[in-house]
Symmetry: C2
Subunit: 219 residues, 2 copies
DNA sequence: TGTACATCAGTGAACGCGCGTTCACTGATGTAC
DNA sequence: TGTACATCAGTGAACGCGCGTTCACTGATGTAC
């Protein structure tokens, strides 16, 4: 059942050193993001990206070994962005009111993550690609694992327990549901994103209230 | 921001009429499912599918206009399966105990859906492709919309209310979270699927308990 | 029951195309003196 | 400040390959009489 890993090189080759090169590099990423929106992951190619970025293909190969490396860079940037949003949210509220304050402000984090991803060119498409394209999946998993671990530690500490397997389950569900809600809200369907995120945030809150009650110790 | 629809023909051409043809047809779908596992959605091609199915490429083109139509058929079959599981679950419990019984048995539906998808060859990969590959997205959306509508109607009726926008939000979140949990459990990570689905089911239950309490009317 | 015929199913060969990738090269930028 | 040189950045041209797709064809299956 486990997939054969195709061993694709994902890391960048030459780093841009001059200002001109930096512009080219950024153009490549922007063009790739735009093409992700226009044609989708299945149709994207190095040829298309280079053409769209206004350079020739060998110029792209100067910085990236293949198209997956370009997508990987895009995905990594998005995951970094989301991680940063989480970090600053956590610091802001945890220092002010501990674990309880975090839970009260889940909706805020949902809204901020949603807004930031929506404002990123191709943010939604990159998010989707991170789920489906094999060489990118680890990026998403790493990011979610990191955030999940934070959740787990904070929650375990607040409850005066060890971060055991059950706490890991709670954290995993929370993080996964969180980002699934953001993804759901990114679909421009008939339902406004705010409503989805408000009620979705409430669902996560209720879940943790229950965890606390089951544990029988207040925050 | 909206993607340019590439207008891909997705429907099958000739239906198999003879037993031999039916076998060929099934082999194509099975080969495609296996390749989805082996090489992923980005690398799959009609050539590869035909070779894997033990036929020549024109034989594949007899039944499908392109590779997306093959994936579409796979996706449609999976959505049908999940819909059927939902239908029979709903009939079973709703007739026995109304809306309350449905909520009490969410975990059962999670487990059944998870098991069925896992047992389907390439079930996980098809699920992922349904999110990311543009021509397949509507399949997932349609299926979820259908199930969401059922949820919405049942819930509104149980609460003695109209299926208004808020109820639609509740139903949409429920269905999306539900299938995200199934997808999460399909990842063969360190956490056993059962634990994720049990606690995930509990989260959805708590969410609806809250909806009922807020509405101020018992089920 | 046999056979001629119609339809269904699958093949071999060929095509043009865009893909990924590499090469030797020209041009741009930075810097040592 | 000027210029020679080193390094960085990007180009034009070419390649082999697998892709999607189509064609006229052969072989298999079903059926009318």
């Amino acid at each position: 059942m486990s997939r054969i890993r195709p061993q694709v090189e994902l890391f960048e080759k030459n780093k841009p050193r001059q200002a001109r090169a930096k512009r080219t590099y950024d153009n490549i990423l922007l063009a790739a993001a735009e093409l992700l929106v226009e044609v989708g992951v299945e149709r994207i190619s190095t040829n298309l990206i280079a053409e769209h970025a206004g350079i020739t293909v060998p110029a792209l190969y100067r910085y990236f070994p293949n198209k997956y490396a370009v997508l990987y860079a895009l995905g990594a940037a998005l995951m970094d962005l989301q991680n940063q949003i989480f970090e600053s949210w956590q610091e802001r509220h945890f220092s002010a009111g501990g674990a309880g304050a975090l839970m009260e402000n889940i909706e805020e984090l949902l809204l901020e993550t949603h807004r930031a991803t929506r404002n990123q060119v191709g943010g939604h498409e990159i998010t989707q690609a991170l789920r489906a394209v094999q060489p990118l999946q680890e990026l998403r998993q790493q990011s979610h694992a990191l955030i999940g671990q934070r959740f787990c530690e904070v929650a375990a500490h607040a409850l005066g327990r060890e971060p055991d397997e059950e706490m890991t389950i709670h954290a995993t569900i929370t993080v996964d549901t969180f980002y699934s809600l953001v993804e759901l809200a990114l679909n421009d369907g008939p339902i406004p994103a705010e409503g989805l995120l408000r009620h979705g945030g409430r669902m996560i809150q209720l879940y943790w209230q229950d965890v606390i009650e089951q544990a029988g110790s207040p925050v």
